[in-house]
């Protein structure tokens, strides 16, 4: 009787081993948020920028037709910046340039 139980447990263990060792599906990264303007506002609400610690005026943030983000800083200057998805659910911002 004991032998049967031990053999059963062994068999069960052996049959489950491949299941545990199967290749796992790579952990999927969340896609970057679809609303880029909201993402920008959320990330830059607290950010200080050069030229005497300027801040982003959040109401002025908008997406340009070429997919960049346009925003104004508290000194009244307008900038555009690129946003590229990084693959980990976030975006990387480029170097802002003055808007023409």
């Amino acid at each position: 009787m004991t032998k049967r139980v031990v053999a059963g447990v062994l068999l069960l263990g052996l049959s489950l081993t491949p299941l545990a060792c199967r290749p796992r599906k790579a952990r999927e990264q969340p896609p970057p948020p679809a609303n880029r303007v909201e993402y920008f506002k959320q990330k830059q609400a607290e950010t200080y920028l050069p030229n005497g610690r300027q801040k982003v005026v959040l109401d002025t943030v908008e997406e340009t037709p070429d997919g960049r983000i346009r925003y104004q800083t508290t000194d009244g200057q307008t900038w555009v910046v690129e946003m590229k998805p990084t693959g980990d659910g976030r975006y990387k911002f480029g170097w802002p340039e003055p808007a023409k």
């Binding site: 990330k43 950010t47 200080y48 920028l49 050069p50 030229n51 910046v81 990387k92 170097w95």
Partner: protein, 300 residues
Amino acid sequence: MDRRLFLKEAGMAGALALLGGGGLFARRAWARGKLEEQLVGDALDTLRAQADEEERDFPARAAEGIRRPFAGMCLNVATFCDEISAPRFQEKLQRLPPEEREDQLLSAFCRCLEPDRVLAFLRQKARDVGKELDRRWDVSCREVARRWGERLQGRGPDFDAEDFGRQVTELVRDSLQRSARRAAKAGRPAVLGDTQEDVGASALLLVPLAKTDRLELVKQLPLFVVRVCRRLFAEVAGWYEGRRGNLHKQISGQLADLGDRVAREFEREVSRRLVDLHGWQEQAVRVAARRQAEARVGYL
């Protein structure tokens, strides 16, 4: 004629010849010196006015846009904060002596700042501003040549303005290359490196690079950037570890200040480069004036 009389008269004749020769020599030296002085005076009127204007306006123009990489860092500050707040990074920092902590922070900062892009940006800036400096130098050379042409009229062959421009520009380039070689030999390599640029851009790119044996990425940044960053990270290394509160806000504030400080430091650096360039230009014109005086003033 007895021997004594012969020696006396020969001595007198020799003395007279020496006196005459010496007089001619002195007259030539005096006339050359005077002409050289006049030519240099003509040139300096033009060059100094231009140099003052360039030293006043160009540093700010060159520094335009230098805040952009730092503004980019501020926008990406979350990535930098994540990196330096990660438990593994903090544990590593705590095991290190203070100066190596700064190095680690500086390395993390450089990974986010992309030094090669910063260097490419500086090179492009130097090319743009350098082109304008070269154009103005060309205009100055023409003006100096016009004045020298007038002054040298009737003193030997016609003055060749084109040749003058080429000659002085080559002299400036020689001084510049000597300076770059001296710096490299002394272990202070410049951003210019071995690249071939025009004179204006090369003069601006003599900005020294950071010197460090420990940090490969930092080596690619100009010394003035690293110097300002070190001051900041010495401070950050002291306070960020145990600090509660909004790290994002604090670090982006520090980076914003850093961008402004780097811009000011860059302006100073460009001023120094311009002072050197103007010194070499003045020296080149002095050499050219001496050559003209030597070629045109003879003994008679």
